[in-house]
């Protein structure tokens, strides 16, 4: 009797484990047919990410001299003469382009053009001692810049 009861309990336990296992496997038991296709033209204006290899950078170019003028018009109201960046805390110059494009200026109505973005990034890298004043930045030259902090960053344990 105790044996049978034990067997019954074990069987119930095994069944419970199986059911639980199935329930977990079914956690993503799709597809559910929800959402609608996102078209290329819908994604393109949203997809503003710039990766360290330069993918995602737009056409256009700019230098520090132009950037100084853009900065005075669009950035100086909050940032004065220029932003002190601590370049040793930045891993990639592409990150600076990406950040300025996605976040600056904070009022969405006055986003900078691609040329203005390259120019402002050139201006910032120049006043922070990273870039020579006469360098034109574009989708080819920007990813080639090695910031002084690059070697400090690592991933993993």
């Amino acid at each position: 009797m105790p044996d049978r009861r034990l067997r019954g309990a074990l069987a119930a336990l095994a069944l419970a484990a199986l059911t639980f296992g199935c329930a977990r496997a079914a956690a993503s038991n799709g597809p559910y047919g929800l959402g609608r296709p996102a078209t290329t033209s819908e994604i393109a204006p949203l997809d503003i990410d710039v990766a360290p290899d330069g993918s995602g950078l737009p056409d256009g170019r700019g230098d520090a001299a132009t950037g100084a003028r853009v900065f005075a018009t669009s950035c100086a109201r909050c940032h004065g003469a220029g932003v002190v960046l601590s370049p040793e805390r930045w891993a990639y110059a592409t990150t600076l382009f990406d950040y300025v494009r996605r976040a600056m200026p904070p009022d969405r109505v006055s986003r900078l053009s691609a040329n203005d973005l390259y120019a402002v990034v050139a201006f910032e890298l120049t006043i922070n001692g990273v870039l020579a004043r006469d360098v034109q930045l574009d989708r080819k030259t920007l990813p080639q810049i090695t910031l002084p902090g690059r070697g400090r960053f690592f991933t993993g344990p």
Partner: protein
């Protein structure tokens, strides 16, 4: 009922008179008006009044807030989430679409990686400032895996870049892999829709990850083979170690605990019995043990853990405190089921340097003096 001197007429109002508590959406008693996020009048960060939090759930209106470009006002009827990148079928979801998915609810903490950093004590003495970049909620949402599976992951998918619809289009790279076991796209917080300042109408929740990785106002998920190395995961929310090296994607918040009662800024009401209370949590899993010391860490005894112990959630602990009026030093030390044990501040400084800015999970030290005043020995 006799009006007490100094009480307003509202306090003595007879039942049936105009009753503010019957407002369509109620609010706390006016006698609790001091229990608010602080510092007041500063947009962010606004810290949770942890010293007054009675249970593991932080009321939504008290949950800490750290924004990077203000709180956007997003209409859930028009807001969409676009999923693209290394997926077989890029998709666009309305909030209504996402709410049709099989849903789950989970209790999880959120902790800003800057919680307990050096310097916050300048704002005030309380545990609200030393530990208040912490909250815990009952979240409702859809597993991230279900939404990504709907689009179909390509074989080289390894990361997902989550982007918000705030003024900074704030974005963070999240590693897939084990993250997919419990990451959620949440729309519910404590039984109602998210509060605007906490991500309405949709946010990412990666249980156990530093708060800033849980992107609010989510508008886009881009599946990638590598991180995007955004500003907020390289130049910000990282900290050079003693060797000057900077570890990226150090995202999990480790085992930690804090005694919320008694806690700094309070004064004990003379010798006698008190119940010592606090919270423990770990981004690695479930809290298995909390020890408390009343002699500055010389001897330890296990605290009582509440039955409600969800993984990657606040767990409440208690211990009897019979105070004889002599000065004591209180500490608590948490351990989790992944083997993590909360370190002393000295051990943390030895490992990571003295500029403790992020992921500061050191044991806190509260002193009670002869007058019953509680102070933070590390403030």
């Amino acid at each position: 009922m006799t009006a007490v001197a100094g009480a307003t007429s509202a306090a003595a109002a007879p039942a049936g008179a105009a009753d503010a508590s019957l407002a369509p959406y109620g609010s706390p008693s006016r006698f609790e008006a001091d229990v608010v996020r602080r510092p007041r009048g500063v947009p962010t960060p606004a810290m949770t009044p942890l010293g007054e939090q009675l249970g593991i759930i932080t009321p939504s209106g008290l949950a800490f807030v750290r924004n990077h470009a203000g709180t956007p006002s997003l209409d859930p009827r028009t807001h969409r989430l676009v999923v693209h990148g290394l997926v077989k079928k890029p998709l666009s979801f309305s909030i209504a679409d996402l709410m049709r998915f099989p849903s789950v609810e989970r209790i999880h903490f959120l902790e800003c990686s800057g919680n307990s950093a050096n310097g916050w004590s300048a704002l005030g003495a309380g545990v609200q400032f030393s530990h208040g970049l912490l909250s815990c909620a009952l979240w409702t949402g859809v597993p991230l895996r279900a939404v990504l599976d709907e689009a179909g992951l390509q074989p080289d998918a390894a990361w997902v870049v989550a982007e918000g619809a705030d003024g900074a289009l704030y974005d963070r790279s999240i590693p897939l892999g084990t993250t997919l076991d419990d990451a959620l796209l949440v729309y519910g917080q404590n039984g109602e829709m998210l509060r605007p300042e906490n991500g309405y109408p949709l946010r990412l929740l990666v249980p156990g990850f530093e708060g800033s990785a849980n992107v609010k106002w989510l508008r886009r998920l881009k599946v990638t083979a590598a991180p995007v190395y955004s500003r907020e995961e390289t130049a910000q929310y990282t900290q050079p170690g003693p060797d000057g090296k900077i570890r990226l994607f150090d995202l999990v918040m480790e085992a930690k605990s804090v005694i919320t009662y008694p806690s700094p800024g309070r004064r004990l009401d003379g010798p006698g019995f008190y119940e010592l209370r606090g919270f423990a949590w770990s981004g690695r899993g479930r809290i298995t043990r909390v020890d408390v010391s009343t002699d500055g860490g010389t001897t330890w005894s296990p605290a009582q853990l509440d039955d409600l112990r969800a993984p990657k959630a606040l767990t409440r602990f208690t211990a009897p405190l019979r105070w004889n009026g002599a000065p004591v030093e209180l500490q608590s030390r948490a351990a989790d089921d992944a083997g993590g044990v909360q370190p002393t501040r000295a051990a943390l400084v030895a490992a990571r340097g003295s500029a403790l800015r992020y992921h500061v999970n050191a044991i806190a030290r509260w002193a009670i003096d002869r007058d019953g005043r509680v102070t933070n020995l590390d403030a």
